[in-house]
């Protein structure tokens, strides 16, 4: 899903390649790009599940306004992944309600 070379913008300017964890698995992305961009590039669309209806949510506005893309980042819930820059070794987790533990399911990590 990455654009290799753009007809107007050329080759996208990116920070250095970094690894991060998504629900325990190792993913790769570029430093300083939004976490959400790295996830989208890796094919991850679901960022969280709502607390009452357990509905999936992902990127919606991509500019930090709507809060649909919030996830648990390095243990902190409700982080807007569309405006939070990616860092080496970051732990990113799908958010269930406001925790990393799905209702009645097993945990990829605890708060």
């Amino acid at each position: 899903m990455r654009i290799k070379e753009h007809p107007v913008l050329g080759i996208p300017e990116k920070g250095k390649a970094v690894s991060f964890y998504f629900d325990g698995d190792i993913f790769s992305g570029y430093e300083e790009e939004p976490i959400a961009a790295a996830l989208r590039a890796a094919g991850v669309l679901v960022h969280r599940h709502t607390s009452r209806r357990n509905e999936p949510r992902g990127i919606f506005c991509a500019i930090g306004r709507c809060t649909d893309c919030v996830m648990i980042v390095d243990g902190e819930p409700n982080v807007r992944t569309c405006i939070t820059p990616l860092k080496e070794g970051m732990r990113v987790q799908t958010q269930y309600g406001v925790s990393a533990v799905p209702e009645g399911g097993d945990a990829n990590g605890t708060l």
Partner: protein
């Protein structure tokens, strides 16, 4: 408490322009923006802007953004980023949220330039991952180099929907359809034509019924609506798509002004609640101004001029700019703004049913409903002439709506194209001038509506030069297929020249050889054998 001569809220086109103007006059100016980078939405705008030279026409939005930042730096504008202004008080005090802290700032004048937010329309499945705002698509692909999806359905045919659809194609995505409940395309016809010739179908009088899929968007169903905007049963149509892009308009983000106590009015023509302002953008609270989309949705070009006016007015009111200088500056800006606010898409004519151009030429109905002009409608327009009999190259200008724009006239070294002082007038071809085939008009036309045609390139063949902004770039000698204005495969075609130069600013010129009978139809090129589809 910190104290400034002027505090500007928002570092987009309007806010930066205001700050530059005021700081240039000697004011101590601070600009607050909640984002990590300045520029607002300008850095996502990768198309060439409309207008005339003074509006930075034919310059791409992100380039205008860079120029504004340089100007701001040069005049000493102080920018505080990651700084959300959470309150503005009538006594011209601001509360600014920075990290975990909130600081209070006092300013003699305040210019609010917070811009707009995207409207949304709820439908079944609209919360599914894969349903995104058109702005989100721009952010992902144009700022971060990531495709928002592979197959996208665009909801909304205003300029945002059209421009973002084109940008999606440039990013390598497929646009499966542009759907709009309106009966006619809302944005510029030239923007629609750019995607129609790539084969993107338009569905006007169509509404979205639902987006569905297992945990994410997998397909989208739209259906036709009647005159009352009710769904006509049996017209449902399903598209395989992983993304729905919502482009259903913008609303002014005017909350801070309302909260400060400024008089607000609901003006649907301007996009919603806006402050009541005078000709300088000043609200009914002295010293508090509004500039750009926050005071009414328009193009960024207009926002920049509004910013200049408010910045100059604030400088004048505080004694930094003499009356005479301010008057001259204001008049210059007003003239420039008036030029942009003319024509078929002028703020006052938004949504009005129009049947002919300012010249009295009937509008192309096909353009309004399908996104491309019918060949037989073209001859009515002054930019078109059928010169099959001519031996030389000549430009064909498929510009059929009154849009404020005149780079075609400016760049032609031979005087072939005339727009005149009223920049919304349709370009007229001068039959006496002779075209040097330099192609500058093809690249300069922000609507990509100009083509060069050489009727007798080789016996039986004509040469058509088209603007081309996609990768992979076809190469000289490549064989492929010429597409019509509707994106339909017309005939075999061969690339005989590809021109790329700094002056063309990434709008490459592709010259394709087609059978002479197709010289008035061939408007796009794809690689791949004609016979094998």
């Amino acid at each position: 408490m910190e104290h400034y001569d002027l505090a500007v809220v928002g570092a987009g086109p309007a806010g930066l322009s205001a700050a530059i103007e005021a700081a240039g006059a000697g004011m101590g100016v601070v600009v607050f923006d909640e984002n990590a980078k300045p520029g607002g939405q300008l850095f996502k705008q990768i198309h060439k802007f409309f207008g005339s030279k003074e509006h930075k026409a034919k310059t791409r939005g992100f380039q205008i953004g860079r120029e504004l930042l340089e100007e701001a730096r040069a005049v000493g504008v102080k920018a505080e980023l990651n700084s959300a202004v959470v309150a503005v008080y009538g006594n011209r005090e601001l509360a600014v949220s920075q990290g975990e802290k909130i600081k209070r700032v006092k300013s003699d004048a305040i210019i609010i330039a917070t811009g707009a937010s995207e409207n949304m329309t709820p439908f079944e499945g609209w919360t599914l991952p894969g349903v995104i705002g058109a702005g989100a698509a721009q952010t992902l692909m144009n700022l971060h180099g990531v495709m928002p999806g592979k197959r996208v359905l665009m909801l909304g045919s205003g300029n945002v929907g059209l421009v973002v659809s084109y940008q999606l194609l440039q990013a390598g995505c497929q646009v499966v359809a542009v759907a709009d409940i309106a009966r006619t395309i809302g944005g510029y016809g030239v923007h629609a034509s750019k995607i129609a010739r790539c084969g993107v179908p338009f569905y006007l009088s169509h509404t979205i019924i639902k987006a569905q899929g297992d945990g994410k968007v997998e397909n989208v169903i739209i259906g036709e609506t009647d005159a009352k905007r009710e769904l006509i049963p049996g017209t449902e149509r399903c598209f395989e798509a992983d993304t729905v892009c919502v482009a259903v308009g913008l609303s002014p983000m005017s909350q801070l002004l309302g909260q400060a106590g400024c008089r607000m009015v609901n003006e649907p023509q301007k996009g919603g609640f806006v402050p009541k302002v005078n000709e300088y953008g000043e609200t009914d609270i002295k010293g508090i101004y509004a500039a750009g989309d926050v005071s009414g949705i328009e193009e960024a070009s207009a926002a920049m001029i509004e910013g200049r006016i408010s910045g100059a007015a604030a400088a004048n009111a505080a004694g930094f700019m003499p009356d005479g200088e301010f008057k001259a500056r204001f008049e210059e800006c007003e003239t420039s703004l008036a030029q942009l606010r003319r024509g078929m898409f002028a703020p006052g004519r938004k949504g009005a049913e129009q049947s002919e151009t300012d010249e009295g030429i009937p509008l192309s109905r096909a353009l309004l409903s399908k996104g491309y002009i019918d060949e037989n409608e073209l001859s009515a327009f002054p930019g078109f002439r059928d010169c099959s009999a001519l031996s030389e190259t000549y430009p064909v200008i498929e510009c059929t709506q009154n849009i404020p724009c005149n780079p075609c006239q400016d760049v032609c070294p031979k005087g072939c194209i005339h727009v005149g002082n009223d920049i919304t007038a349709l370009p007229v071809l001068n039959p006496k001038a002779s075209c040097s085939a330099c192609g500058m008009c093809v690249a300069a036309c922000s609507g990509q509506a100009i083509f060069l045609v050489q009727p007798h390139y080789e016996p039986g063949y004509a040469l058509v030069t088209i603007p081309y902004e996609f990768f992979p770039l076809p190469q000289k000698g490549d064989k492929g297929t010429a597409l019509s204005r509707s994106g339909e495969a017309l005939c075999p075609a061969q690339v005989v020249d590809v021109r790329d130069a700094k002056a063309l600013d990434n709008t490459r010129l592709l010259s394709i050889k087609v059978p002479s009978s197709h010289l008035n139809r061939a408007r796009f090129f794809v690689k791949g054998d004609f016979a094998n589809g």
